[in-house]
Assembly symmetry: C2
Homo-oligomer: 215 residues x 2
Amino acid sequence: MWTVSTPGRAHRTTYHHGDLRNALVEAATAAVRAGGPAALVVREIAREVGVSPNAAYRHFASHADLLATVAAVARRDMARAMLERLAGVPGGPRAAHARLGAVGRGYVEYAVAEPGLFRAAFDGAAVAGPPGAADPRDPHPDPWWLLQERLDELAATGDLDPDRRAVAGTTAWAAVHGLAVLLVEGPLAGLGAADREAVLTDLLRTVDEGLTARR
Amino acid sequence: MWTVSTPGRAHRTTYHHGDLRNALVEAATAAVRAGGPAALVVREIAREVGVSPNAAYRHFASHADLLATVAAVARRDMARAMLERLAGVPGGPRAAHARLGAVGRGYVEYAVAEPGLFRAAFDGAAVAGPPGAADPRDPHPDPWWLLQERLDELAATGDLDPDRRAVAGTTAWAAVHGLAVLLVEGPLAGLGAADREAVLTDLLRTVDEGLTARR
DNA sequence: CGCCTCATGTGAACGCTGTCAACATAGGGC
DNA sequence: GCCCTATGTTGACAGCGTTCACATGAGGCG
């Protein structure tokens, strides 16, 4: 039924596609991965999938809707990458600090590795945030949630003041997110790998020591 | 010569405007202030100023060029707000920590007060960053530079390890910038003033303690 | 087996955008 | 007082998101 002639271009023999929604999301994700949120143009995606521009509107209410879907995909992908990092660190209370670092590192390194998707993931209001807070057993874990779990661990070991626990989640997230943003689309975009590593290490250390400091 | 009929709409009696560039920047800044970078549409700005769309192209190479100009204005405005905060804190080595906090607070609070301008200020590559580093005596001080000066002070008092000084600037900036971004366009956008204050206080404390911790 | 419904796709169109090329105007230096 | 040139205008083009009316055909029902 479906064959790809030109790479990225498709033509079809049937009137109905059969899996248009998925195909659109896939093509849109590829576009965003390559060029960021601004690179997502509905007509272009439809062209690539080999369908008329309006066909997309049978599956997505608008350009923003499609972009929001890509953002959700990106957040899942990011969480997956973070989970991989986390798997490399042992469990148990002794390694709680190391796990916090791993999650933070995963966050920033994903942003650097996939700048387009990262920018889409936290774009506009299409973001599921802390207000509602996700279900911990969500089959699609959220980057934010992965971070909060680490802080819960730290609070459980007594290294993080419980009174500070609530607000600490935001503090840690802000630090890591800020570095990611500056590295991806901000003035730090030109940094070399070595400098990036130095900065990331220092930031993770600062957050860890700052959050668990006793004076 | 120039009269404003409808607010924001202008008509003129002379063929030449006389101060078009400034008028365009002003109108564009107002648009961005109200609706963020996406709200800047060249034709609309020209309409508001009472001029044909293409007249703008005599003063700006492109839409991106005009937006970059607005971004520069926004960064200056932000630095101005930060300087005001800074003026409220005494000089001298004793208050170096307080001055760092004041600058960080000014950064975040400006972002919250002027979300549209803040988003434009750090949009894309139109940003003068640390690589080149601005002249300290720049008549238009940069938010980044104001932060770096505080860290220099802290290093001078001995509270900040000199070996750490270089990278600490980025760490501190990342933390503050990250919180600003999350509050302005991220998932923390819905936070109330009290929660915002609590989070900001904790973040500033974390950065200060984390950067100057001795273990 | 055949029909009919309705989800899914198409075509043409609207208004908007950024941008270009050719032309109009008039202010300031000789 | 005249012309040069910076500045502003008109008209056009391609591409965008989105809508409306129509086409197609896969799947449920008799």
